[in-house]
């Protein structure tokens, strides 16, 4: 089950905590992975780690997702370095620029929408072209619990993540007949270098809201990505899979 041998995946934000975990898991299931981010040396390290396990199985294409031209070219570049058409797109890169509405600058709004939502549209558009021809594809957007529940100080981020969900549902309906599925994964609170910095009181306050009593791990999100990318999930489309320890039940 969940074998991805012979499949090619593009993972954006592969320099980050969740992106790297997702890339490792897809790779472990047999997929070729193309890693993207802006920090080339970090990408190269991960590619070397994965490449050592299986030759010609990990590639990198650096791209800045706030630049439309770079986003538009990313899928074609990924297919060129991997030498195969894209089967799986994981739109995982994302940023926050938090602030209460009265203090939110135009630029904070625009950058977050651009990197989180517009890049997803551009990548999905580019990926769909080849996937339609090949009659197979898996498009997965990493959204957030906040896109569904909201969170003060994150109007821009919540809008971008909710936008990803609506976008995915519409696209899922357009391409379902071509054997392409489009789904989102909505992580809750996942342990990261940022959460490591929280003090005891902050940590306790967060944990009090999570029935599972613990933060999630990158591997929890990666497992959801493997499932949605697999042949076994072919009948699942337009959905948002919430991975949050019960923090919100939707």
């Amino acid at each position: 089950m969940f074998d991805l041998t012979g499949k090619t995946a593009l993972v954006t934000g592969a320099t980050g905590g969740l992106g790297a975990a997702i890339a490792r898991s897809l790779h472990a299931q047999g997929a070729k992975v193309v890693l993207s981010g802006t920090r080339e040396s970090v990408l190269a390290e991960l590619a070397a780690e994965l490449g050592a396990k299986r030759p010609d199985s990990a590639f990198i294409v650096a791209a800045n997702l706030s630049d439309a031209a770079q986003v538009d070219g990313l899928v074609a570049k990924a297919e060129a370095v991997a030498g195969s058409g894209l089967d799986i797109l994981i739109a995982n890169a994302g940023i926050t620029r938090d602030g209460l509405i009265l203090r939110m600058k135009d630029e904070d709004w625009e950058t977050v929408i651009k990197v989180n939502l517009e890049a997803y549209f551009r990548l999905a558009r580019a990926a769909t072209k080849g996937m339609m021809k090949r009659r197979h594809g898996r498009i997965i957007g990493i959204t957030s619990i906040v896109g569904v529940t909201g969170n003060p100080g994150q109007t821009n981020y919540a809008a971008s993540k909710a936008g990803m969900i609506g976008f995915s549902k519409a696209l899922a309906q357009e391409v379902a007949s071509r054997n392409i599925t489009v789904n989102c994964i909505a992580p809750g609170f996942i342990a990261s270098p940022m959460t490591d910095e929280l003090n005891e009181a902050q940590r306790a306050a967060i944990l009090a809201k999570i029935p599972a009593g613990a933060l999630g791990e990158g591997s929890d999100i990666a497992a959801a990505a493997v499932y949605l990318a697999s042949a076994e999930a072919g009948y699942v489309t337009g959905q948002t899979l919430h991975v949050n320890g019960g923090m919100a039940m939707i």
């Binding site: 021809k133 007949s177 071509r178």
Partner: protein, 79 residues
């Protein structure tokens, strides 16, 4: 038969998996060849690639039959 017609027919037959006998100039993509709206978009993209032309959306809307495609592409190639 014109060369353009031959190339258009080939794309349509391949793409829609259509019976070659049915792919005449008069054949309507939707009514005779069972294409859906996504097929039409894909066909238009395939024509663009094959003939190295651009077909804007408002022109694509008027391409309903194989013959429509051929005359549109003929016009584009001559201009």
């Amino acid at each position: 038969m014109s060369e353009v017609l031959e190339r258009v027919r080939k794309i349509v037959i391949d793409h829609l998996d259509a019976d070659p006998d049915k792919v005449t100039e008069k054949a309507s993509f939707i009514d005779d060849l069972e294409a859906d709206s996504l097929d039409i978009v894909e066909l238009v993209m395939a024509f663009e690639e094959e003939f190295d032309i651009e077909i804007p959306d408002d022109s694509a809307e008027h391409i309903l039959t194989v013959g429509d495609a051929v005359s549109y592409i003929d016009g584009k190639l001559k201009s």
